[in-house]
């Protein structure tokens, strides 16, 4: 240790990494990284894992409650249950433009907010809506009631057969 010759410090002038440079770089990255990680973890924190509002999967009653040829809107659930003979479907009534509730009209659906129009199957027929109204999965729960899952969008034209 003591008898090692002390070499003149030539590295300072060049590109070479000195111990001091490396340590300050590591410290800097450590601090910066921690800030990034804690900022990011805040986003994880505020993105709720459980929501306290309405569940997205819910029962809408027995199929018999919907007579053939009926179109029933459940505004609180923001869906419209359509029954055509034995075929049933659940169409969203949330306007794809900016989230207002569409009302049923003679030709299908109409939005009161910015004037979007949809046909009976939810295809856009006018207004600023960029997309059709989605269809949601309908299933028969073990207790014989229909169950709609708004987390699962299905291909329009895919019916649930009673």
């Amino acid at each position: 240790m003591a008898n090692q010759p002390t070499t003149p410090n030539t590295e300072e002038s060049g590109e070479a990494i000195t111990r001091r440079k490396l340590l300050s770089w590591l410290t800097g990255m450590g601090v910066f990284g921690s800030v990034l990680v804690s900022a990011f973890s805040n986003f994880i924190f505020i993105k709720p894992r459980a929501t306290y509002g309405q569940p997205n999967r819910f029962s809408v009653g027995k199929p018999d409650e919907y007579p053939a040829g009926s179109r029933m809107t459940l505004d609180a659930r923001r869906i419209c249950i359509v029954r055509d003979g034995d075929r049933m479907e659940a169409i969203s009534t949330t306007c794809t433009h900016l989230g207002c509730i569409v009302a049923t009209s003679e030709t299908g659906f109409a939005c009161p907010c910015h004037g979007s129009h949809y046909d009976q199957d939810g295809n856009v027929t006018g207004g600023p809506a960029p997309k059709r109204l989605p269809w949601f999965q309908v299933r028969l729960a073990p207790n014989g009631e229909l169950e709609v899952d708004k987390d699962v969008e299905i291909e329009p034209g895919t019916y649930f057969n009673v």
Binding site: I46, Y52, G99, C100, I101, P112, C113, G115, P130
Partner: protein, 442 residues
Amino acid sequence: MNNQTSVRPWTAFTELPGNVWRSIFRNPIPHSDLGRSATSFTNFFLHVQPVKVHRHSLRLTYTWGLGLISLFLFLILAVTGVLLMFYYVPSTTQAYDRMLDLRGTVAFGIFLRNMHRWSAHAMVAVVFLHMCRVFFTGAYKKPREFNWIIGVGLFLLTMFFSFTGYLLPWDQLAFWAITVGTSIASYAPIVGKDMKFILLGDSSVGQEALLRFYVLHVAVLPILVSLLIAVHFWRVRKDGGISRPPEEDEVFPAANTEPLALAAAASAVAQPVAPKLALKASLEKKLYGIQGIVRGPFTKIGNVPDRSVFSWPNLVLVELLVFLVTVAGVLIVSLYFNAPLEEPVNIMHPPNPAKAPWYFLGLQEMVSYSAFWGGIGIPTLEVIILLLAPYLDRKPGGVGTWFSRERLLANSLFMTFVVVNIILMIIGTFFRGPNWEFVSPW
């Protein structure tokens, strides 16, 4: 032991209350220039201001006091906001009833709500006008580029502040304005859906959204805005005060160089040889050595006419006047006009048309053509252009005068931006009826 320093107890009493007063206010009401400068730097609240201020900065027709009015509106909002918090509950079942209570039972409740609402409207307008003033006078140019950016940030935060406040009364307008607003956010590419979900805490506007907006409105945004205001003011000082036209006899023009280079230039004039030594000497000896640390024009050293006046009382009186006018304006409007409150939230029936507050109606009008371009694309472009403006428009000329001819192009572009947005707002406000169809207001 030492008779000279011992004080008889009753003599100490006779000094009351003068000695208490003097311990609080270190300076008596000044009657000399020395006293006037001491007043500015011995008082916490006054030391934000410079000891002396340029006459040009005090001219009403240059600034119209818009920055000051913004600050005072923010203070009014903070005070009335804290008072309203004593009676408000961020709950979907209680919030609306609390609004009714403010009307019916709380002493001054309706008046405080009026003050809060109208000040908020005014603040959005005044902050925007302040931005226009800064642009049309070219005040965002070097060395004030970054303060312009902070200003744009403050403008956006003011809008977001107002947006979060809109939900809190939990009336129909609140619910549907936020439903539409957050749906616009969800059109943002990649992060849009997550942004909406994080903002609402749920898939639709409900209790979680109300709580989140409340926390943003009363805690997060006030802290952010206060911090940015502090930085904004500090930079105004460090960038050499409020912008003004260059003067012919000014020793060192404001815009061009770094502080040390300035000092070096000064010393190079004195001693062309050995500039490093001269620099050191100038920093140690010369009066302006210490001023070399401060950017911007040098304060005068006697060889140019002094166009500045003492902040106490000149600036302080102007500020007091603007404060009084602002408060009086808010009070008068709040006495005569009540803040609107619509029906309680009905999730089944959106009002038709569902309109946002006036300053978002330009946005809503654009959104009715295309949700992505009107709500995300064009606004984002506008903000980016605003942020880049001081870095693109780099000609130093035309600073300090309204609508300078040197800045005809930049001013015309900005004026177009302002006029187009105002026209969109007017269309959205007066010419849109049920189903957002075109109606005539006459």
